[in-house]
């Protein structure tokens, strides 16, 4: 089915938010699930985690960072335009229950997918601590939204331009795990793979269960192709249907990083071509 863009907002230099008219998916989706969209007939199938939904209005919010041709093209669409295809909700929902204190960690654009999980954890009655981080102040997104669904929040920047100076993993260790002031029952982390890996290294040391949401390369996202396969606890799992969330202490992050690099050359070729065409005003 196609989906109309109702609203568009730029959240930071390269991060955009789209509100889509998608009543069927909005009604069904649960925290942690994603959609797959296609912009045009020659386009890729792009998986994106659902950042928010309003079942009453029938809207779905997606937030994405421009990393290549397809996301660049997506960022150029305007309110009133339509996506050619939108399918979902895909993947398993987050397992949400009251377990005590939950730390929700979002790195970069990863704050967007961690937001609905934070909200669900809060609604389930947990004490929710949020840690959101980015390279610098300008790249921090959704601070107010995260604040509204958290009991405590820490904002980190790699360059110290805002909040805690350092990585999210350092903030978690220094402020909570090392002090032992409050027992952390669970950590949920979404962000770039190196960030999730560093965070899992820390929480493993303190034996804190950690869930990560993986964004591997996908094609159909219905379990049909296996492009997204990842090794978890020595077993091959499909991120699209078995995930996207897994026990972070069991994930083979090295393999995941390698697999995310399969098409780097083609992606660059495609993006460069697109950018050149844009400059020449030809369209791609």
């Amino acid at each position: 089915m196609s989906a109309k863009i109702l609203e568009k907002q730029q959240l930071s230099e390269n991060v955009f938010k789209l509100v889509l008219d998608a009543p069927k998916i909005a009604k069904k989706r649960k925290a942690g699930q994603f959609v797959v969209l296609r912009i045009h007939e020659q386009g890729e199938r792009i998986p994106l985690t659902i950042a928010d939904a309003d079942p009453a209005k029938g809207t779905l919010t997606i937030i994405f960072q421009v990393v290549g041709k397809s996301t660049a093209h997506l960022s150029e669409l305007k309110a009133g335009d339509s996506l050619l295809d939108l399918v979902g909700p895909m993947g398993q929902p987050t397992h949400v229950e009251k377990i005590g204190t939950v730390v929700c960690v979002g790195g970069g654009v990863g704050v967007a997918p961690v937001y609905p999980i934070t909200q669900a954890m809060k609604n389930a009655g947990n004490h929710v601590i949020s840690i959101i981080g980015a390279r610098c102040k300008d790249l921090i997104i959704m601070e107010d939204e995260m604040k509204a669904v958290s009991d405590e929040i820490i904002v980190t920047t790699d360059d110290g331009s805002y909040g805690y100076h350092g990585f999210v993993s350092q903030a978690l260790e220094e402020k909570y795990l090392m002090t032992g002031d409050r027992k952390i029952d669970m950590v949920v982390a979404i962000g770039p793979v190196p960030m999730m890996r560093a965070l899992c290294d820390v929480t493993k040391k303190y034996n804190v269960p950690t869930v990560v949401s993986l964004n591997s390369i996908m094609v159909d996202a219905t379990g049909m192709c296996g492009a997204c396969r990842v090794t978890v606890g020595g077993k091959t799992r499909f991120v699209c249907v078995d995930g996207p969330e897994f026990d972070g202490h069991q994930v083979d992050f090295k393999e995941l990083i390698d697999r995310q690099r399969i098409y780097l050359d083609q992606e660059k070729q495609c993006y460069d071509h697109y950018c050149t065409c844009r400059q020449q005003g030809k369209g791609a």
Binding site: E44, R45, V219, D220, T222, Q266, Q269
Partner: protein
């Protein structure tokens, strides 16, 4: 023409693209009969009183009937004759294994070669489409019954086509963005042009079938929710869409694909036209394809067309046991695919940066027959060898996708998670729910799925009309 003269006509050859040319393009390999070829071939049919060929056809096409019309030059009428029992003749004429179905039963085959039924079917379907004279039968009596069909592959399209012609209101739900199932994501352009699938799907739409693409049943709606929405019966034709891997070391290295992924990228996403299309694919120079079925042949021939220097087809049994159609093996060999028979991969070797660079194999020999009746391949000790490859496509079969089964309480499945359905009716353990095709039988052929769809359609009609 006298029977004696008719018996003298040789089986008409199928004009084909030259192997050296076609191995580097994605255009269709067989070019199709001309009207002259078709008429000559049709005259070879001796119009048996008790045609055995029809018994060999899972959807019981009136084979002598349509062939007689071709002999008279009535090509459009011949196409319509087929369409009385087969909604997808252009597809079936291309991908059906006629040599083990209708043509193997042809009496002409006993002394000479059988009538080329498949080529004739293809000819009239193409002729009708090219002439723009595709007729849309008028559907007289609307029943007011709503039918949901889950999956738009061969079984789903057949069920939908049959039921809409019986006057029901039919909606197909397809998970992907294009209708056709394996016909669009699996079978390559050079064997089944996607424009032909689109035309056959379009024909169903003209008959009144509604097609909702990008709708994953089991996710956006469950089977129970379809009933709650007012559907009177549901057909599940979700296919065998779960790729099998061998679980050997190195299978997750970059450059190692499941056949489903490799073919989906190339066919559905048109990665062979990258960067005109955005979806990329690894264009390997030395490609190993693991398996001996039609999907393995499709993968190997796709790899060759993507520019490979060498494509090795690695199969653990001998040529005799290969499940692929003989014609496909023949085409593959003509195009330079190198068969490594009685060879089994045991691990993939990486370059330390996550990319596959080699495949280690064992030589096999045939032992005693196994459960399938085929002689079991047994490893020869100490026969390990390594071949340099930069791409691997694992084409060793597919399992059942659990999305629908896991969200439909009371739907019985077997130990492989295929849906249990009555062979004659497609009836499942859930009232009003029918199933057919690969999701019941495991990965099989297009025409068998269509046959199951035909039977299920009859049973579903009976079911909704008695409600």
């Amino acid at each position: 023409m006298e029977m004696k003269e008719r018996l003298k006509i040789p089986r008409q050859p199928m004009p084909e693209q030259d192997p050296q040319v076609r191995k580097r393009n994605f255009d269709e390999v067989p070019l199709g009969y001309t009207p002259e070829f078709a008429k000559a071939e049709a005259l070879r049919c001796i119009q048996c009183k008790k045609p055995e060929c029809v018994e060999g056809c899972p959807v019981e096409v009136d084979i002598p009937g349509f062939i007689a019309l071709i002999a008279e030059g009535k090509f459009i009428e011949a196409a319509r004759k087929i369409k009385q029992t087969n909604a997808l003749p252009a597809v079936c004429g291309r991908v059906c294994p006629q040599e083990v179905q209708c043509e193997i039963r042809c009496v002409r085959g006993k002394k000479a070669e059988p009538v080329a039924i498949g080529r004739l079917e293809r000819f009239v379907a193409d002729y009708e489409r090219a002439a723009g004279e595709v007729s849309i039968p008028k559907i007289e009596n609307k029943t007011g019954k709503k039918i949901a069909v889950v999956g738009s592959g061969p079984s789903g399209l057949t069920v939908a086509g049959d039921l809409v012609q019986m006057g029901h209101d039919v909606t197909i739900f397809e998970a992907l963005h294009a209708a056709g199932g394996v016909l669009v994501y699996g079978i390559p352009e050079f064997r089944l042009p996607k424009a032909i699938v689109a035309a056959e799907v379009d024909y169903l739409k003209k008959l009144g079938v509604k097609i909702e693409t990008s709708n994953v049943i089991g996710k956006v709606a469950t089977v129970d929710e379809l009933f709650a929405e007012g559907y009177d019966a549901v057909f599940l034709g979700t296919g065998a869409g779960l790729p099998s891997f061998m679980n050997i070391p190195g299978e997750n290295l970059n450059g190692v694909y499941s056949a489903n992924e490799y073919l989906t990228r190339s066919n559905l996403m048109k990665a062979y036209r990258f960067p005109e299309y955005d979806t990329p694919i690894v264009r390997g120079r030395n490609v190993a394809v693991i398996g001996g079925g039609n999907v393995a042949m499709d993968s190997a021939r796709t790899a060759m067309r993507l520019g490979a220097d060498h494509v090795y087809l690695v199969y653990r049994r001998s040529r005799q046991e290969m499940p692929a159609r003989i014609e496909e093996i023949h085409h593959a060999e003509e195009e330079g695919i190198e068969l490594h028979l009685l060879t089994n991969p045991i691990r993939y070797i990486g370059n330390g940066k996550g990319w596959v660079t080699g495949i280690e194999c064992l030589q096999m020999e045939l032992g005693e027959p196994d459960d399938s009746g085929r002689r079991r391949p047994v490893p020869i000790k100490g026969s390990e060898f390594i071949k340099d490859v930069d791409t691997v496509v694992v084409a060793i079969g597919a399992g059942s996708n659990p999305l629908v089964q896991s969200t439909t309480p009371g739907l019985d499945t077997n130990k492989w998670n295929y849906i249990i359905a009555d062979e004659e009716t497609g009836q499942t353990s859930r009232e009003g729910v029918f199933a057919g095709g690969d999701i019941v039988t495991g990965a099989a052929t297009v025409i068998l799925a269509m046959g199951a769809g035909r039977k299920a359609a009859r049973a579903m009609h009976k079911y909704v009309m008695s409600k």
